[in-house]
């Protein structure tokens, strides 16, 4: 069970400080005004790092049995990939209205 391997409060505090630092980096990068696509890529990478750490430590995924990870995460990613690229809804984006 997760509670047998709980990290210490010092670890949680360290992660919390790390999250705040990543948010600081996100703001600093934004105000350097990179190209929109570059900014999106950088912000997404940083957000995925934050989310991964949050999932593993705050949500204790790291301390659960591996089968939970292999049940939830790959299937969720598969659905997202199919939804964004192959299933019918993905093609609706080609027809979205971009201007008024």
């Amino acid at each position: 069970m997760a509670t047998d391997h709980d990290p210490s409060m010092a670890t949680y505090l360290g992660i919390w400080v790390g999250f705040l630092a990543i948010v600081g980096i996100e703001v600093a990068v934004t105000y350097r005004h990179p190209a929109t696509k570059d900014l999106l890529a950088i912000l997404l990478i940083l957000a995925f790092i934050e989310a991964g750490i949050g999932l593993l430590y705050f949500m204790h995924m790291k301390y659960e049995r591996k089968i939970l990870f292999w049940t939830v995460v790959p299937i969720t990613l598969f659905v997202l990939f199919m939804m964004d690229h192959f299933w019918a809804d993905a093609f609706r984006m080609f027809n979205l209205r971009l201007t008024q």
Binding site: W16, E26, L44
Partner: protein, 208 residues
Amino acid sequence: MSDSELTIGAGHGALLEASPYGLQSKKLAMWLFIASDAVTFTAALVVYGFLRIGSPDWPRPFEWPSIVNGLVMTFVLLSSSLTMLVAVRAAKASQKSKAIRWLGFTMLLGVIFAALHLREWFHMFGEGWGLHKNPMGGPLDFGAAFFSITGLHLLHVISGVVALLVITIGYKTNWLDDNHVETTSLYWHFVDVVWMFVFPLMYLMNAR
């Protein structure tokens, strides 16, 4: 808790076979809910991303004070995850009053987050923004994307505060136990994780 204790505690069906996940059914159900909710948020954010990149005249309404407001909201929500962790640890250690106190702090931070969010919204309404209103000219989709995605997240925060209130009352009156507190904490941390995407994509991507 050992597997055998978990199995016995989970009801007659589970006596036949232990859960391969080593989890109580409510916690597994919460994980599955979180996975489905993650798909919902991702779908909305991906559509927004396509619109944002595909619109050269996309508005950038957020000046520095709005970004600071977003930073304070981020600080509040991240801190609420920390107070939730303290509450779960206290509940697991059977420190009931401490757990209830920290659950209270978590709810308070959730309410502060919602209040800051609504303040930002009303400020934008005052400037002429709306679901299909864009006072800066250009695509009307900004309002639809911003208010629907942040609104969906805000709804999750408010739902989380209500859920925490119910869990706290149940835990205090011995109707619920520490496992309920832990399961609800998963939802609260998930709401925090979603904000890690919403803030940079909705605020920073639209900063002047």
